[in-house]
Subunit: 183 residues, 2 copies
DNA sequence: ATGACTTGACGATACGTCTCGTATCGTCAT
DNA sequence: ATGACGATACGAGACGTATCGTCAAGTCAT
């Protein structure tokens, strides 16, 4: 009955190609013009196979952008304004090409649908990174103990997301400096 | 050849019913489950007639929420923290039921798509209102002349939009107070 | 004034298209 | 022999278009 395990295994190379194709198409076309058929065509992976690995379109898109959207590290120069500006600058550069995808992924989450948690999850590391920067500044006395760390981190995240993703505006260095200086 | 103008006029009552139905369905179902057919059914206006008045779904949704989402006035108590908190509180209450619709509308506006719902346009009056509050404070000397008005207004807007629409979180009074106080 | 006429907005309905997601089947490497 | 893969057909839902008959609102002739 239970023969050990024979037959072919799933092909990780196909998965890699599918994710690469999804990420490419995403920056080229934007979320809503990326279709499962186009991903299949570009990657050479059959559409059916895509659905064998990911339950729906939101899932494969999320997987495709997760790596690219993760912060690489948290700067620690000893100056909160420098660190914050550096990190926010990195965030802007990273999400700008995917702004459309991010907001659309969020959109797919409407009313208890799954997918929203994905966006929050993807941006969470950036929020955490900003919190770390602020808490280090608190620890070394650069900020007071009752400084509103979480609110400030949310405001910074919100500023970037609002302008880049919602308003689709560029953010100048001057703006960014004013943002992290105005405390 | 050119007879002045005869025949029936467009029915503003039908338009009113269509917009009301769209707004209702939006809060009940969220953007992506509102269909033109459902709006037609609920309002008693034929789908074809909807397309005679609005070019696409985004347009009718935008029209439907524009009024509800507009700020009624700009508070002016003489205290920038009070005014800002009041106004941001009003913004939160207004967009919370439409959070889903807003983010979806934003999604539709990306990549020069035609089905573009003008989210930026709808939120602009709120931004302007915050700018007014800050400039009044500057005028009466409560804020310095080089205070970054626009950046602050964007950060406040971003904070609300990010938490309410993206993360779908509630915002406490404490958070709001910390936001407008931390300057 | 009155009654026939013309215009065009509306409702109903059938389509065409696109895309998601499912079902089925033969092939072929392990 | 197993089962992952590619190819293909298919069903469902939604957007947006096309077409047609109806009917009310004005217009014009008498």
């Amino acid at each position: 009955m239970t023969r050990p395990r024979t037959g072919p295994r799933r092909d990780p190379e196909a998965q890699r190609r599918a994710l690469a194709a999804a990420a490419e198409l995403l920056t080229e076309l934007g979320f809503h013009k990326v279709t499962m058929e186009r991903i299949a065509e570009r990657s050479g992976v059959a559409k059916m196979t895509l659905y064998r690995w990911w339950p729906n379109k939101a899932a494969i898109i999320t997987d495709a952008v997760r790596d690219t959207l993760a912060p690489s590290s948290t700067p620690d120069t000893g100056s909160v304004t420098t660190d914050a500006r550096t990190q926010l600058d990195a965030l802007i550069k990273v999400i700008a090409p995917y702004g459309d995808a991010s907001v659309t992924a969020a959109a797919m989450s409407s009313r208890g649908e799954e997918g929203r948690a994905d966006l929050a999850g993807i941006l969470q590391p950036w929020h955490d990174s900003l919190v770390t920067i602020l808490e280090r500044a608190q620890a070394r006395g650069e900020l007071s103990q009752d400084f509103p760390v979480t609110v400030t981190a949310h405001a910074w995240m919100g500023y970037v997301v609002y302008r880049v993703v919602f308003l689709q505006q560029d953010i100048t260095e001057t703006d960014l400096t004013a943002l992290v200086t105005a405390r």
